[in-house]
């Protein structure tokens, strides 16, 4: 037997597309957020409310990633915002090449902000850089406050943690979720992570999220 040193990246094709996306977004001064969470955390509901409430202030486009169906893209399009559905046909994450073709289909020049709604999954999407400006992780109250401790990688790498469905907190709801524990565990992994408790259903806390978005868009433009 003999050994041959190779030293080549295995996902270099994905990285090349990610770099291309990142360059395109930087050139055009667009904020692009990769939204990652478990299935059912409320990502699409957050996006729909955000688009509706920021109408006339921030122009938003969405790349929707799902294993199958165009249910989510239709929910976004109903707001009037442009949305591109990408079906991964069984794959557990979006790839940078898919995002690249999604960006081509959006009227990017007219937008301020592109959301990438990744396939619902707390593990695999962290393995694939898409060329986004930042990752936003969404954790919803019914999933439990132990998720930052159990799925640390994505919390360590995200700029923002949205804790959604806080309307379910409170004794009468009988949902066990210790907000302080989730915050402490996430902060342990990532001191600079912005933690925003919200309810996309009632609107509670959403103003802080909108302020964060407005600031992030300003920062991109001044770079």
């Amino acid at each position: 037997m003999y050994k041959v040193e190779i030293g080549k990246k295995i996902l270099s094709a994905n990285e090349e597309y990610a770099a291309k996306n990142s360059r395109l977004l930087a050139e055009q001064g667009k904020l692009c957020l990769n939204m990652i969470s478990s299935p059912g955390s409320g990502k699409t509901t957050i996006l729909v409310r955000t688009i509706n409430e920021l109408k006339g202030k921030i122009k938003i486009g969405v790349i929707e990633g799902d294993i199958q169906t165009d249910i989510d893209a239709k929910r976004i399009q109903a707001t009037g915002a442009p949305a591109v559905q990408i079906n991964t046909d069984g794959a557990c994450h979006l790839s940078a090449a898919q995002v690249s073709s999604g960006l081509e289909k959006l009227p990017l020049a007219d937008l301020d902000l592109v959301f990438i709604e990744n396939v619902g999954n707390l593990i695999c999407p962290s393995a694939f850089e898409l060329g986004e400006t930042a990752k936003v992780v969404v954790l919803s109250v019914p999933e439990g406050d132990d998720k930052p401790a159990k799925y640390p990688a994505i919390f360590a790498k995200s700029k923002v943690l949205l804790i959604n469905k806080i309307d379910l907190l409170g004794a009468q709801m009988q949902v066990d979720f210790n907000l302080e524990r989730a915050k402490t565990d996430a902060h342990k992994l990532n001191k600079s992570i912005e933690i925003l408790p919200i309810s996309a259903k009632t609107g509670e806390g959403m103003a802080d999220w909108y302020n964060w978005l407005v600031e992030a868009i300003k920062n991109i433009r001044s770079d």
Partner: protein, 116 residues
Amino acid sequence: MLMHETMVAQSLLSMISAEAEKRNAKPIIARISCGVLNAVNDDVLCFAFDSVAKGTACEGMKLEIEHKQMQGRCKSCAEIFDVELSQPVCPKCGGEDFELQPDAALVLEEIEFSTE
């Protein structure tokens, strides 16, 4: 569900096949290294690789996978250390505020070929 390891396995197979063809040799073992965020599960990757390699020159190959820890740079004392995600603390000064370094990439490090 198609796990992300499948995509890794396919990419790996085409890289190893190309090297094998270049040398006209039979690959036996491939050594791979990966970071935490690659979220590679050894069993799943080996299973996926076995499946995609069936009927190719890579059939029956063994994969050896090295996992590299994420590294952090302590904001108090600048120490670079392996971040234990369950208890991330600087081993030198006990500081808890650190900057995460870029995660290690998924790399095909080396291939062993048969001399037969």
